[in-house]
């Protein structure tokens, strides 16, 4: 397990002497969070602030005939009521699919779709006023499954050209049919991946305020201040320079705050209308309704293998249950296939993915966006093949390794690649060779591998501008100020910037002040999504820091009559490389530099490579990343054959993050990813009640009812594992530096989630011979599998093997 964090946040232990990068330090803002001093959006309160609430639809699918707000407006304490007609402009985080309105103006598309908002003197009055908003509905049949939506002539979005299909992608690489025909083994399987949501501890919150000069400020618990800035300007019809977006500390996001939501638009417009600050805080239920979580996938996979285990062809077909809006769905649909062609060589590859609108909360990007579901399918396929071909599953994966500096069959360039070392590490740490096949029945080991992007080569809107910018200032007190548009959502991007800058400028972590995510004060960064910040903002910060360190060294060199290259900045000192006894304080060095150059500031920016890194076909840029991370998991489980309980005893996760700038934070991301992945596999389920039929089979009349109601919209019913429910996690860092990353760093926040889930299911099979191809894993499914196994054994008139290891 990980070693402790030595000393205070500002101190670093381990690593290279004099260097901050690679040392064991904590987050620079951890102590505030630990003592409860961190100010989240809801902790902010402005003079004369009003409180807003949203009126939400009780119908999964209903046309709005008219809305009467007069009674609500008449209630004492109510200052303004707005409806969809006040902000009709359609928007979407992906500019090609603008299918959302700040408040739905024409119809509600899921239970909970917001149609009006009220600002009042208190939350209580606002809530009471919401009850007085009268909406006349024309109720429509709810389409709550992709099958129902595809079969129905009714369109959830009338303007959509393809019925209820939000996106269809079909891509072919090589001759798949020949590959399958020539295969020694074809594994064919149907896989189900259920929906789950992010459940951040901090609910979404926004405050709007327009000052006397007309500047609109929106504070929001967002992870994409820049995209929010753009969409606010579009929907409110204000020029962007009249809007300022500030992201205070965020208490978790995981992808669930990576696009604009109704509350930000509503708080902003209500603030404009009332001339007072307006706060809108989601209830916990509203966080579940906002959703944008993991898409449910229905997948059919055929994979052809040569007798030696090489993957000759993969044929994948997926249906994605998108929910009521597009969100990032265009990207999700591509990712469902585009991110699968590594770390293994595919001889040929075809995928066909269809995303469908349904009358449920919209799905979107959750940690491991779009690629966790197909990864589950392919890694279980590989496990089945390994058993059928009698090849060790780790060995089978090694034989298909794509290698470093390689190209995937769909055209993406892979730089550094530590996947083999990941496999080696989990194999060794888990005692795989000695233990696998020798565990008692009920215990099992499973392996899986995966890859993920470190940001995307292309911005989600067409742009030639840098993806990230950083501005630095040196202070004559020896302090460094960092201005960056980056969103720290708990992943540690603020600490990452401080680490790189402190390391370059020779100051301690404590000496770096990071001001982040304020569109008036900081340069643009596109946001905390696609695991992009470390690589992109990190590179921008390095450019800016090297500019300043050059100036400081030049000033010191001038004083000491030596070359700038002979000066080292470290440990709060400037010193001679060849004679460390010759040194001055960093404060003095900064002052010499300021005297020589004037006020010390610099900028750095990063943009992605655009040449020769992606496929030359429509969609060939989606999934292209400057650098790819790699992960391998081994999970050890214990299965109780009487109850069906599955207990994870251990999960070893080795992750190639290129270079761990802050190993403690990387280990935290690995452990958090493993927790989140196993949680959604075993317990969490974001699920709506099916429409149409009652439990007794009778068809209900349209009207209020069960259609599309969330089964779990509280933290009691949406079961996140407690500390008692998880096993031992072992975070193993693998470092294969990528030339495109700062100091070689790649992502660490999302990759370590993916293969935890198939490794778990492969371990369950190893333990009791039951395949869980439809997630989530439940005790009832285990018992059903064991019953089927017994029935099959009885039919075969032969006893069960003592352990299924080695059998297919």
């Amino acid at each position: 397990m990980s070693a402790g964090v030595g000393g205070s946040a500002g101190q670093t232990v381990g690593g290279t002497p004099g260097r901050i990068v690679g040392g064991r330090h904590g987050k620079i803002d951890a102590i505030d969070a630990m003592v409860g001093a961190t100010k989240y959006t809801d902790d902010l309160s402005l003079p004369r602030m009003l409180h807003a609430k949203l009126v939400r639809s009780p119908y999964a699918h209903a046309r709005i005939v008219r809305i009467d707000t007069s009674r609500a407006e008449a209630l004492e304490g109510v200052h303004a009521v707005i409806t969809g007609a006040d902000m009709p402009e359609r928007y979407g985080v992906i500019p090609w699919t603008p299918d959302e309105q700040a408040l739905a103006a024409d119809k509600a598309r899921f239970v909970g779709d917001a149609v009006a908002a009220v600002a009042a003197v208190s939350e209580e009055v606002a809530a009471a006023a919401c009850q007085l908003v009268h909406v006349q509905w024309e109720v429509l049949p709810a389409l709550t499954t992709p099958a129902a939506a595809l079969a129905s002539p009714l369109r959830i979005h009338e303007a959509n050209k393809h019925g209820n299909v939000t996106k269809h992608v079909h891509l072919d690489f090589g001759d798949v049919d020949a590959g399958l025909r020539d295969a020694a083994l074809v594994v064919e399987g149907h896989y189900g991946f259920h929906g789950s949501t992010h459940a951040p501890l901090e609910p979404h919150c926004a405050i709007g305020w327009q000052d006397a000069a007309g500047l609109l400020t929106v504070w929001s618990s967002t992870q994409v201040p820049h995209y929010l800035h753009r969409e606010l300007a579009k929907v409110l019809g204000l020029p962007a320079h009249r809007i300022r977006v500030i992201q205070p500390a965020v208490g978790g996001a995981f992808g669930g705050k990576s696009e604009p939501f109704d509350l930000e638009f509503a708080a902003a417009l209500l603030a404009i209308r009332t001339g007072r600050p307006v706060k809108l805080l989601y209830t916990r239920e509203e966080v579940f309704l906002a959703h944008r979580g993991r898409h449910p996938f229905d997948m059919h996979y055929r994979t052809g293998f040569a007798a030696d285990g090489r993957i000759l062809a993969v044929d994948a077909k997926s249906v994605l249950d998108g929910g009521a809006y597009s969100s990032f769905g265009l990207v999700t649909t591509y990712y469902s296939g585009q991110l699968l062609a590594s770390p293994y060589v595919f001889g040929a590859y075809r995928f066909d993915s269809t995303r469908v609108y349904t009358n449920k909360p919209a799905c979107g990007p959750k940690r491991g966006h779009g690629s966790v579901q197909p990864r589950f399918a392919i890694e279980v396929q590989l496990d089945k093949a390994a058993r059928a071909l009698a090849i060790d599953p780790i060995e089978l994966r090694r034989r298909n390794f794509i290698g470093a500096d390689s190209r995937t069959i769909n055209g993406f360039h892979v730089g550094s690649n530590g996947f083999l070392e990941c496999l080696d590490k989990v194999e060794e740490a888990s005692g795989w060779r000695a233990r696998r096949g020798h565990l008692p029945r009920g215990r099992g080991l499973g392996v899986a591998g995966s890859t993920y992007i470190s940001g995307t080569n292309y911005c989600i809107y067409p742009s030639d501008l840098p993806q990230s910018g950083v501005q630095l200032c040196l202070d004559r007190s020896g302090r460094v100020r960092v201005f960056a548009g980056t969103s720290d959502i708990g992943q540690g991007s603020t600490t990452m910037l401080a680490t790189l800058v402190a390391d370059e400028l020779g100051v301690a972590l404590d000496d770096v002040r990071v001001l982040a995510a304020d569109t008036d004060l900081t340069p643009v960064d596109l946001g905390a999504y696609s695991s992009r910040i470390t690589l992109m903002a990190g590179n921008a910060a390095l450019v800016a820091a090297r500019d300043l360190s050059g100036k400081v060294k030049a000033a010191v060199a001038e004083k000491w009559q030596c070359a700038a290259r002979d000066i080292v900045l470290c440990d709060r000192r400037a010193q001679r490389l060849d004679d460390p006894a010759v040194h001055v304080s960093i404060q003095q060095a900064f002052q010499w530099a300021e005297a020589k150059f004037g006020t010390l500031g610099s900028v750095g920016s990063y943009d992605t490579p655009r040449q020769d890194v992606h496929g030359d076909y429509r969609g060939g840029t989606i999934g292209a990343s400057p650098a790819y991370s790699f992960t391998a998991h081994v999970v050890e489980v214990e299965v109780d054959e009487e109850t069906g309980d599955v207990r994870v005893l251990h999960c070893w996760c080795a992750h190639d993050c290129g270079k761990a700038l802050s190993p403690v934070l990387v280990e935290g991301q690995i452990e958090g990813s493993v927790y989140m992945g196993l949680a959604e596999a075993l317990l969490e389920h974001h699920e709506a009640m099916p429409s149409g039929l009652r439990d007794d089979g009778r068809r209900r009349d349209p009207g209020p009812g069960r259609d599309g109601l969330l089964m779990a919209s509280s933290l009691l019913d949406y079961r996140m594992p407690t500390a008692l429910d998880v096993g031992e996690f072992h975070a193993l860092i693998v470092e294969h530096p990528d030339p495109r990353g700062p100091h070689g760093a790649k992502e660490a926040g999302e990759g370590p989630l993916h293969s935890a889930i198939p490794a778990l299911c492969n371990a369950i099979f190893d333990a009791v011979g039951v395949r869980i191809d439809e997630l989530p894993v439940t005790p009832a499914k285990i018992l059903a599998g064991l019953r089927a196994q017994r029935a099959a054994a009885a039919n075969a008139h032969r006893p069960m093997p003592a352990t299924p290891t080695g059998s297919q």
């Binding site: 939350e123 109850t643 209020p704 009812g705 779990a712 919209s713 594992p721 407690t722 429910d725 009832a780």
Partner: protein, 341 residues
């Protein structure tokens, strides 16, 4: 950061100094008043507007509702109704005289909730159902139910009675201990009710207490040396959750003291009781007299599991697959017996 939460409706909280004042106040305030002790069940329900109250009368500070004693003559264990579950779980007298009750109290919810929740509150827990314990928006979208401004039961289509489930961890345990509660009425009228008789089958009004009556204490009789007890709770998570399956078991053995086991090493059953929770508004109590004379062994464990399976029919009233809960119930009964064999 302030915890995200729904707002409590405006209400007055009263903190009477003694029990007599509390009863008088409650009578004076009328039907708009509710008792509150730990509030861990009532306050969330108020926030969800599942129940209404204009006044809350706090029982926390009433000395008459506190204290744990053992009657030296009878061996009866007497527990104040306002005893916190955390204190109950750790109390030496309870651990000595009714260790399974302490165990069950220690399995309620989570440490924080046990630090607030009381034994009386756990016995008077409101019934729960997946169609009730939801927000106003959710219940409006559903169209209500028998317990929530509606006419249709969504658990039992066409059902006329509310089948919301009692999720108390302590009630089944107290039933198999033969425990009773002392109740005080508005004018000081006292009565005693066996815990087994406390509950009704109506999920809307499942606790047989009159408006204004207060649960003062719980009395647990001394258990004979031949009695063996067990409580088993299953929930999807190891903490926080209400039980999805709960089983309290008492086996009465035919012999006492050191001669419990026969020459074969197996005790013989004289009788016993099984109380199963989370089925409906009241625990299902099954007498085990028919198994008298049987050795307490694996065969009995399997048979009692089958017996419980045949007699109990978990409904889709609480979350989770009802068919699995029924299977799980049989397993938990088996395991309760095995723990005693």
């Amino acid at each position: 950061m302030l915890p995200p939460m729904l707002r409590l409706p405006a209400l007055d909280v009263h903190q009477p100094a003694n029990l007599a004042d509390a009863l008088a106040l409650r009578e004076q305030l009328g039907p708009g008043a509710r008792w509150v002790a730990g509030g861990t069940d009532l306050l969330p329900n108020l926030k969800l507007h599942m129940v209404d109250a204009e006044h809350l009368v706090s029982l926390r500070a009433l000395a008459e509702l506190h204290g744990i004693t053992v009657d030296a003559a009878t061996g009866e264990l007497c527990i104040g109704a306002a005893t916190r579950l955390a204190d109950l779980a750790a109390d030496p007298d309870v651990l000595a005289h009714a260790p399974v009750l302490a165990f069950a109290a220690g399995r309620v919810a989570s440490p924080q909730l046990r630090n607030m929740g009381t034994l009386g509150g756990n016995l008077c827990l409101d019934t729960r159902c997946r169609y009730i314990n939801q927000s106003e928006l959710w219940r409006e979208a559903l169209g209500g139910c028998l317990k929530s401004h509606g006419t249709e039961c969504h658990v039992v289509p066409g059902g006329q009675g509310c089948v919301a489930a009692l999720s108390s961890d302590t009630a089944p345990v107290l039933i198999v201990h033969g425990a009773a509660i002392d109740v005080l009425g508005p004018h000081g009228a006292s009565r005693s009710v066996a815990v087994a008789d406390l509950y009704d089958t109506d999920g809307l009004q499942h606790v047989r207490l009159e408006d204004g009556e207060v649960l003062v204490r719980v009395r647990v009789p001394r258990q004979p040396a031949t009695a063996r007890h067990a409580y088993r709770k299953w929930a999807a998570r190891a903490s926080i959750d209400f039980p999805l399956v709960s089983v309290a078991l008492r086996l009465d053995l035919a012999t006492t003291g050191l001669d419990l086991a026969s020459a074969t090493g197996t005790a013989t059953l004289a009788g016993g009781q099984l109380a199963v929770g989370v089925l409906g508004p009241r625990p299902r109590v099954l007498d085990l007299g028919r198994f008298a004379g049987r050795p307490v062994d694996e065969a009995l464990a399997l048979e009692l599991g089958d017996f419980a399976f045949a007699r109990c029919h978990p409904l889709p009233n609480v979350p989770y697959d009802a068919a699995y809960r029924r299977e799980r119930l049989a397993v938990e009964v088996r395991r309760a017996v095995r723990g005693m064999a």
